[in-house]
């Protein structure tokens, strides 16, 4: 955590504003976790939750089998999507870019849905790989269609158009070969509904990509100076860009393969994090992960408790936060 804080010139007991913000965020995460454990279709007290953590507890099933893996998954997926957003925005230098605006999420979702509808008996372990193939194809297609030097608006526009194509294909697949409807909503909007330990274990290996992103952060900082300066400072710009984008696609695809395309999370979290701690990637990346996790936890919580026992997909909640934010970004981008 020492990377997060200011280089401390004089150690005092008072926290710098930056530290305060980070601690506030961590506190928020803790509160969100506790709220997620306690609230839901059945409201539990803290003691009940504590007892539920052990196998003899009355609420063992609710807490251990249902809420705990879901919380872990929300944190993991939120962090991954936020990291992917930071990486993409960092190397493309486009404030409107994020895996879901560029169509990578929907591409990954399309591949996963195709796998599930065309080969219904395939193992769940294959899903992230199929999603990965889809995500990479989507990224390559975007690059082929609009080139690497496209201005921000045009790139976002092409991505959105491609995303529309993928999501209409997902629609089409779901409507012609009906899965059960909750699965369908999952793939259309993104949701954590019915996810458990199995999905979490599928996700775990992919979490390796998060430290890999942190490892790139120094080079990402230099990339922010522009390709020429970065090259002068000893960074191989094309290679770093390719690596960062590949990481972003991998992170997005793994997250999407389990929870569906959760929209706008990868767009909003990096911007919020940047406002909190500035643009140095050593700080930005961990804080963005925190922000993403908190946002997804809150979105999922609201989606669960707004009208129990009916659950809204978390993707709807993130869209309600994210779409206005996107509009605001659009207004600011003159």
């Amino acid at each position: 955590m020492s990377d997060l804080t200011c280089p401390s010139r004089h150690r005092q007991l008072t926290l710098s504003p930056l530290q305060q913000r980070v601690w506030l965020l961590a506190g928020l995460l803790l509160i969100a976790i506790i709220a997620n454990l306690c609230l839901g279709a059945v409201d539990l007290t803290l003691t009940q939750v504590w007892q539920g953590l052990s196998a003899e507890g009355e609420q063992y099933f609710t807490v251990h089998e249902y809420r705990l893996p879901r919380i872990a998954l929300a944190i993991g997926v939120g962090a991954m999507l936020a990291t992917a957003g930071v990486l993409v925005q960092g190397v493309i230098r486009n404030p409107l870019a994020s895996p879901d605006i560029l169509g990578v999420s929907q591409g990954a979702g399309l591949a996963a849905v195709s796998l599930m509808t065309l080969w219904p008996h395939a193992s769940i372990q294959l899903l992230p790989w199929a999603a990965l193939a889809g995500g990479f194809s989507a990224a390559v297609l975007l690059w082929l269609v609009c080139g690497s030097k496209a201005p921000p608006i045009r790139m976002a526009l092409t991505g959105v158009a491609l995303a529309a194509l993928y999501s209409s294909t997902i629609d089409f697949l779901l409507l012609t070969r009906p899965l059960d409807i909750n699965n369908a909503l999952l793939w259309l909007t993104g949701s954590l509904w019915g996810r458990g330990w199995q999905q979490l274990y599928t996700l775990l290996p992919w979490l390796i990509l998060l430290p890999a992103a942190l490892w790139l952060s120094h080079r990402l900082n230099l990339m922010g100076l522009g390709d020429d300066s970065a090259t002068c400072l000893g960074v191989r710009a094309p290679r770093v860009r390719l690596l960062a984008l590949a990481l972003a696609v991998g992170l997005t695809s793994a997250a999407v393969s389990l929870c569906g395309p959760i929209s706008f999370l990868g767009l909003v979290s990096p911007h919020l994090a940047r406002q909190l701690v500035g643009g140095r990637h050593q700080r930005l990346l961990p804080v963005a992960m925190l922000v993403g996790a908190v946002l997804l936890l809150i979105a999922d919580l609201v989606a669960r408790i707004i009208h129990p026992p009916i659950e809204l997909p978390a993707g709807i909640m993130t869209a309600l936060i994210g779409a206005p934010y996107f509009l605001w970004l659009l207004l600011k981008l003159r």
Partner: protein, 344 residues
């Protein structure tokens, strides 16, 4: 209109008029054939073309084929056609009004806003009936459109077309999320929602048709009446003002007609995307840019497109049905990508 006399006075124009007539005739016959095919093709109960004709033109009998054609298929085909005509005309009007080739009810969020209005009224105020749904659709579509125009800075000279489209996409995403949320919260069963959101005419019965046609016809006639003004709008604001046009009023009128057309079709069949984007460009390629000729052509082409999509939707996964809107989205999205590439 003085322009009309100038137009028809010269002989090359008259020759062009003949070509236009023939093309319209061809389109009309295509439409009739599609309607006929739509009456009998891919039915759960096997029907033949002659049976469909008999059901239409002979005295009603209690035969199954007669009942199916008269009670299920005929209203469905008619609603599909009229919805297509409405959406295509609305798209042409919007493109004429904003001079933006990407303008259409789907892209600018009007569809999504109207769908949100309909969803809110039908889930939380069901007693308001079709009138309530239509007014909510007009209101929702209007608010969404205004929002997109304001956020995209549409009236500024040299406005960025791409920015406008992105604003439309974001507003549509917002409306879509709210629509889904309200429907899921109100009904446990989300299966029907998916179909309705994609836009389908599968449940169109005569009541839908009776609610649709008066509004739609009025809207289409009003659109035709506005065609000369749209032609003048096309030469630019300054010129149009010099020609004695009151820009504000014309824009308001066109906007209202668009909203009426879109909301009528959304209430009848859900939000069918891409017809409003696709058809005006096809029609312009075939019939030129004169709105007096373009708008009728848009009506016919749009009707034909939605009818064809409905037939395709039944054929793709027979005997289960795919919403026409899903088929159209699949056809329309690549076109949207092409448009984004070439026109921004």
């Amino acid at each position: 209109m003085s322009l009309t006399t100038i137009d028809t006075a010269t002989s090359p124009r008259r020759a062009a008029g003949h070509a236009y007539g023939w093309r319209m005739l061809g389109l009309l016959s295509l439409l009739l054939i599609l309607a006929w095919v739509g009456l009998f093709a891919w039915s759960a109960i096997p029907l033949s073309g002659t049976q469909a004709m008999q059901a239409l033109f002979s005295h009603p009998t209690a035969q199954v084929s007669d009942v199916v054609v008269r009670q299920l298929r005929l209203p469905r085909v008619l609603v599909a056609g009229l919805v297509g005509a409405c959406l295509a005309t609305a798209g042409a009007l919007m493109q004429g009004l904003t001079r933006n080739p990407l303008a259409s009810p789907g892209v600018f969020g009007v569809n999504a806003g109207a769908a949100l209005g309909v969803a809110l009224v039908s889930t939380y105020a069901g007693w308001m009936g079709v009138m309530g749904q239509s007014s909510a659709a007009i209101l929702g579509g209007g608010v969404a459109w205004t929002l997109v125009m304001l956020l995209g800075a549409a009236w500024r000279p040299g406005a960025d077309k791409g920015r406008l489209v992105l604003a439309g996409v974001a507003v549509a995403a917002l409306c879509g999320a709210l629509t889904k949320a309200s429907i899921i919260l109100a009904e446990d069963q989300a299966a029907g929602v998916l179909t309705w959101l994609a836009g389908s005419v599968a449940n169109a019965r005569w009541t839908v048709w009776y609610n649709l046609w008066p509004v739609a016809t009025a809207g289409l006639l009003a659109a035709l009446a506005l065609a000369p003004s749209l032609n003048i709008l096309a030469v630019g604001d300054e010129q149009a003002r010099n020609l004695g046009m009151r820009l504000g009023w014309v824009r308001l009128a066109v906007g209202i007609v668009v909203l009426v057309l879109v909301s009528a079709s959304v209430v009848a069949a859900g939000s069918i995307a891409f017809v409003g984007l696709l058809v005006p460009h096809m029609a312009r390629a075939l019939f030129g840019i004169d709105h007096r000729k373009l708008l009728p052509a848009c009506c016919l082409l749009g009707a034909a497109l939605v009818m064809a999509a409905d037939i395709l939707g039944r054929a793709v996964a027979f005997p289960s049905e795919t919403p026409a809107g899903a088929v159209l989205a699949l056809i329309g999205a690549p076109w949207f990508i092409y448009m984004v590439r070439s026109r921004t």
